[in-house]
Symmetry: C2
């Protein structure tokens, strides 16, 4: 909250309205599903409804809690407008619907309707959320290690004839037993020619006797997401398949090795792309190398071609190059990497050498 | 799509932009995660990106597909503006962010920026989605029956000492094996005094030797959600517990019996509330009686006190009164009910007499 106040002061903004739930959880700890946070340069107040009286009191830090009968964001706007030193309050236009804004304006005194609420030109809280502190990193490490254990566990279930959905079900079941609150996205289990689909959700299809199998999954632990991908092989790979796997692995390891404070996201992407270009596989790598991860599965920074954002200590990104050859096969390998001063720390230390099952 | 066009004509609206994904799926069948649908009185066009070329061609009906490199909604707005007979297009302000609207306007010719896009005063597609046709009802019946089978299955896993999370994990695992695409919301497993929390997500807590256990869960099948709740008892209930259960069951059955085309949602709510009032339990019933369900787990109509919306054939609602005695226990019983001319058809015919385990 201190860092947020400094940003407010620097921006010359006397008030700020926060309604995006991950931002709110990040700033004051509240995890309920209906709330708004009003921040001034001196104080902060969380508005929520009567269902959350007990929970808000227990969870909220760095803000006073006020239970309101009307929509929390309306109450927050009205409270901000009533603060003597606040003549202007910012909101995030990418998290505010046209209908919400109309409702907020209608709840203001007539003279304030045109001028009080100000659409912020850039996100205000996301840049803070990019930089994880030690507590956050420790939770994310635990979440990532659950992912590694799941990968180890699921290997024994992978057999020709078992359906993709059964693999996903077993993986998700085990995630629950290991303490996950849920999965951070729909589990991807894509076998055979389906491995060439970057987003191949598990289907009722049976695993083939031979071919690649891509597993992309993540868990949620204390609100934080993990994300990892491994591609294994059923049966005996042909030389072309071995060669393609080795190329993706080399690209992935080159990108991981490029991670360091001060390096741009584009440079990390280029490290992977460069290897695949050399192997004439650049065109089969049809997406970005990675993305930030934290309270949401996709957060800034984007780790893609030409991205100028420089890595900073505390950022956690995924590094996940892949190649997709439609009708043939696909391969993707993904780690979560925490940026520190001297390099990058891989949070998902599961084996990456090609596993044949 | 025909019904939508009639609504457009009646509203005197020449064009409509649809970006809410469940609305889009409902109207043209496309299930991807990035798309916009432009509708005029004569034609409809779906805009999506290159990742969905194959999928959009396979899934989309009643609209032409156009693959675009830029954001689909921007392309849809530009296409609408280029149609000769379209001088105005409506959008849903509750599904459009302030940032999106600014982006759409910026993509229009200057002379159209102020006047072309029109914020609709009421939802346009939701009223259609409320009325399920035979195909939809058949899918929802199947989804609801998976729920019933899950309830039957999970009874054998309920034992003192097993954790709530293990129960949820087993239930979700089985749901996957029965063909569910996922759960329609976070599974609620609330035991002992936790059953007094209306939204008690499964925790690591072990089931007690005696006490109520509330299970509230639903699956997704072909995009449609199911939703049901049963409350069972571990051990032998005391007279007060039996009495309270009987009161909730009577309230639930009274509300189910009140469901009929032409009856208002408020009357269904009142049927349940009236029974609990008579038993001096009305104050412990702290939420509405139910809600519509379909492609989203919560849809109109709201089945709450004073709601004037009249039930119509094809609506599917939940009927789920509950009582919550903080520090003691809670009980909720929920069915999905399809409205037809003569009454309501219960889609979740799992036993409701108190089960003692």
């Amino acid at each position: 909250m201190g860092a947020l106040r400094r940003r407010l002061t620097r921006a010359g903004l006397p008030g700020l309205l926060i309604t995006h739930l991950p931002d709110l959880r990040y700033l004051c700890g509240f995890t309920g599903s209906s709330a708004a946070l009003a921040v001034t340069r001196r104080t902060a107040r969380l508005f929520t409804d009567g269902r959350y009286t007990t929970q808000a009191a227990a969870e909220t830090k760095a803000a006073r809690v006020q239970i309101v009968p009307n929509p929390p964001a309306v109450a927050a706007v009205q409270w901000l407008a009533a603060q003597p030193a606040v003549e202007l309050a910012g909101f995030d236009p990418s998290r505010t619907t046209v209908a919400d804004l109309a409702r907020w304006k209608a709840a203001l005194p007539y003279r304030l309707r045109r001028s009080f609420l100000c659409s912020l030109p850039a996100p205000f809280v996301e840049p803070l959320r990019q930089l994880k502190d030690e507590d956050e990193l420790s939770i994310m490490q635990d979440a990532a290690l659950i992912g590694c254990r799941l990968f180890g566990h699921i290997l024994s279930a992978i057999k020709p004839g078992v359906s993709e959905i059964e693999i996903a079900a077993e993986l998700e079941h085990q995630a629950r037993l290991l303490g996950a609150e849920g999965m951070s996205f729909e589990t991807i289990v894509a076998s055979g020619a389906r491995s060439a689909l970057p987003h191949g959700r598990a289907t009722a299809l049976a695993l083939p006797r031979r071919g690649f199998l891509t597993l992309d999954f993540g868990v949620i632990l204390k609100g934080y997401c993990s994300d990892m991908t491994r591609t294994v092989f059923l049966g005996k790979p042909k030389p072309k398949e071995r060669y393609a796997y080795a190329a993706v692995l080399e690209a992935q390891e080159a990108a991981v090795a490029a991670v360091r404070s001060g390096v741009s996201c584009g440079e990390v992407d280029e490290a992977a792309r460069n290897v695949l270009r050399r192997e004439a596989l650049a065109e089969a790598f049809s997406h970005s190398t990675g993305h930030g991860v934290g309270l949401e599965i996709h957060e800034p920074p984007r780790v893609g071609a030409g991205q100028a954002t420089r890595l900073q200590p505390g950022m956690v990104i995924t590094v996940e190059p892949g190649i997709y050859l439609p009708g043939e096969f696909g391969i993707r390998i993904e780690d979560m990497v925490a940026v520190n001063r001297s390099g990058g720390q891989v949070l998902t230390p599961a084996p990456k050498a090609l596993i044949e099952l």
